[in-house]
Each structure stands twice: as C-alpha cells, then as structure tokens.
C-alpha cells in the first residue's frame, strides 16, 4: 500500500508491504543506513528515530503506521550536506561518547529527544532517559557526560 512519509524534511510516497518495518523502510527503501538494527526486539534502542518528534524504536513500528508522519533519522540532524554536526553529535565527539559506534545513532536520537523535553537534565535523568539504549561496549560514562555537556552548552536542539 502507499505511504506518504516525510523523512528528514523530504516528502516521499512509497509503495510498501504492510509488514515492512519502519527501520527496514528507512534503510532499504529510503536508503538511509545510519539507523541500525540491533536486538530487533525493542530492547536495545539502536534503531531509535524520531516519529513526529518523539523517540521510538523503529524495529517495532510498521512503515504503514508512519503514514502521514514526519520521521527524523540521524542523517537529518547534521544539516543538509552533513557538514555541520548537531550539537549533541559534537558533544559525543568531544567527550568520546562512542567506542565501536554501533549504538551511537540511537543514543544520539534518544538524547536529542530527551533534551528537547528536558533541556537541563540531572545526571540521573540522563541515565534514566537513556535506559532504553544499550551500549555493549559499556561506554555509558562518556555517553552520559556527552549529553550533560550538550545540555550545559545550552545546545539548541532543533529537529
């Protein structure tokens, strides 16, 4: 069936099977591969994207459920040509908030949603806000530090 989805500001129409998951739509139909499939069971958060501005796990959303919605992926944070890092991405780089990098797209998307709803979180609020995102390198310390640094820098968190 046809879905109309605005992905990173670009309106699209695509013909999809109802069973197509949003994460597979983004990776394979749209061709945006920052969003990772990790556990595939809505546990690990590697597939986190924004659906109408809210963080969701795209392995547990059907593409047809996103019909008429706006989706933002990691690629949508960094500006049109990707040359300008989003403040949260810049903080992850400055604070060494990634090791292998597999969880990073989901972490950044969860963190940007967190900062939009709570621009000045405590460390505990950051840890709880990111509880749906696993880092199997166990690099949580610097991830939390990066989110706090982005908040302290007064990171404007535009969509």
């Amino acid at each position: 069936m046809e879905v109309k989805v605005t992905v990173n500001g670009v309106a699209r129409r695509d013909d999809v099977e109802p069973r197509l998951l949003l994460v597979h739509y983004l990776r394979e139909v749209v061709g945006l591969r920052a969003t990772n499939v990790g556990c595939d069971t809505s546990s690990c958060g590697a597939c986190t994207v924004h659906l109408d501005g809210e963080a969701v796990k795209s392995c547990t959303v059907l593409a047809v459920q996103a019909d008429g919605c706006e989706v933002t992926t990691l690629e949508g944070l960094a500006g049109d040509d990707g040359s300008r890092l989003h403040p949260v991405q810049a903080a992850f780089r400055a604070e060494h908030g990634l090791q292998c990098g597999f969880c990073t797209p989901g972490m950044v998307m969860a963190a940007t949603a967190l900062l939009r709803s709570n621009p000045h979180p405590s460390e505990r609020e950051v840890r709880e806000g990111l509880e749906g995102n696993f880092c199997r390198c166990t690099g949580y310390h610097n991830i939390v530090r990066a989110v706090l640094a982005a908040a302290a820098a007064g990171a404007e968190v535009p969509e």
Binding site: P18, S42, T48, A55, T60, V61, G129
Partner: protein, 272 residues
C-alpha cells in the same frame, strides 16, 4: 525478524473498526501502539491475516473526570499517563506505575488498552488496574459492556475480550487520598517484573505470581480483619501459582511477593 504477511486497514471511526472485527473474527487482530503485538508477530507466534489499526482513533485517547471515576481512553499511551495532571491528582499510582513500563521509547508508543488486552501476567498496568478496582469498557456489535478488572484476565495472555470486541475505556475510581504503593522487582533496567506488588487502599494485586495478574485475597482479608501490614503481607503468596524460570524459582517468587507486598503496603514506590 519479519512478520508473516497480513492485510492492513486503518479505520477512521470506532464503528468501522467494530464492523471489521465482526467480519473477520479470529483472523483479525487489533493494532494500537504495537509494542506487544508486533514483537510476537515478528517471532511468528502470531500471524493474523488482518491488522485493524485503531491507532488514529482519537476518540479513544482521553483522560477525564466523570463523576466518581477517571475515564481513560484505551489508546492513551504510557507517556500520556505519566504526564497527566488529572491522574497525578486523582489516581497517583497510575502515572507512577506507567513510568516503570519499558523505557521512554516504548512509553511513547505503547497504550494502556494494548497492555491490558495483551494480558501479560508480568506486566505493570494489569496489576495496577486490579489493585485500583478499575472497570473495563468493551464495545462490540451488541453495544457496550462493562467488566470488572477482577473478571477481565482469564488466562495466560487471555482476557474476556471477544474477537469482535474492542476495549474502549478504562474507568478508575478516583482515590486522591488513598494510601498506595507499587514495588517492581526487575533484573534489568527495562525488563518485565519478576514479581510486582501494587497496593491501593487495602487492595493488593500481584504480577508474576500466576498465569494472570492476581489479587492477594488472603492479604486483603487479613487487613480487613485488623491484621498489621506485616502480618497481612506474610500471606501474599497464598493461593498463587508462580512458576520457576531462568529469572527466579517458585520459592523465590513467593518470597518476593511477601516482601514486595509488605513494602507496597508501607507506601514504597518504584523498582525494588
């Protein structure tokens, strides 16, 4: 993991959804937030021929005071329960419990109606509505019927919802001043409870202690008869039938039920 193929419809009105459910019977499944149904479809434990997506039926998304109850639309998301000032004032247990469901991303999608109809005995909201003495409003081809939460959960992942019925509303008695507590024991951050205990005004419900969420009848009777919370909590696992699994033995679950009930009766909140 890819679900088996299915047809998909997104009705615009509740009546259209009911008509589709009546036409397709057992072949159809209701899709709301999808956070219980889609995982089991991806595991191919369920393979409905038709998904009826009620996710855009905004008539089922509300939290409002109606007389002695707070009426909660079945499509209200966990995140909406958490942030509701009405619930915070009138039924403070419910936003507190909803904040313990899954994680933020899951709470942005999952709905109270979906969680209740899924009927997982280890889930938070089924135990919460049992302890709150809630009533569930079902709509079907013959009209509306109301089912007490104590009658709603009939077996493992089974409820009294017929294939042609839709859970439309949860009615929770207002209890702004009633003492309450909720204790959830988990081994991992965003996991289901191994055991959880909800206590509201002398009613106690347990998750993880049987094939359905259950009321701790012996504890409630003891409280009514004047027993102390500690004495009553010592009876919490009576007439339950917990199973052993990788997370806990039967004896350990019984221990947790007694311990968490004592803490919940004392007003403790959150993860144990």
């Amino acid at each position: 993991m890819i679900p088996a193929p299915f047809d998909y419809v997104r009705p615009a009105r509740v009546e259209d959804a009911l008509r589709l459910l009546a036409e397709h019977g057992e072949d159809a499944k209701v899709l709301a937030g999808g956070h219980s149904l889609l995982p089991i479809m991806k595991l191919r434990l369920a393979a409905p021929a038709l998904l009826v997506d009620v996710g855009r039926l905004d008539a089922l998304r509300h939290i409002r005071i109606e007389g002695e109850d707070v009426a909660i639309g079945a499509l209200t998301r966990h995140a909406d329960l958490v942030s509701s000032p009405v619930l915070r004032a009138e039924v403070p247990l419910l936003p507190d419990v909803a904040a313990l469901v899954g994680d933020q991303q899951i709470r942005n999608r999952g709905t109270i109606g979906g969680s209740l109809v899924h009927g997982d005995p280890a889930a938070d909201l089924p135990a919460a509505v049992l302890a709150l003495g809630a009533t569930l409003v079902l709509q079907g081809p013959g009209g509306e019927r109301r089912v007490a939460a104590t009658e709603f959960f009939t077996g493992f992942l089974q409820t009294s919802t017929a294939p042609d019925e839709l859970l439309v509303e949860i009615r929770v008695p207002r209890c702004p001043d009633a003492p309450w507590g909720y204790q959830k024991f988990v081994r991992r951050a965003n996991d289901w409870a191994v055991v959880a205990a909800a206590a509201v005004d002398g009613r106690v419900a347990l998750a993880g202690m049987a094939q359905t969420p259950v009321r701790a009848a012996a504890t409630e009777e003891a409280l009514t008869a004047g027993a102390s919370p500690a004495e009553a909590a010592a009876l919490a696992d009576r007439d339950t039938s917990p199973t052993a699994d990788l997370q806990a033995s039967e004896a350990y679950r019984r221990h947790l039920a007694r311990l968490l009930t004592r803490r919940a009766l004392g007003g403790a909140r959150g993860r144990a």
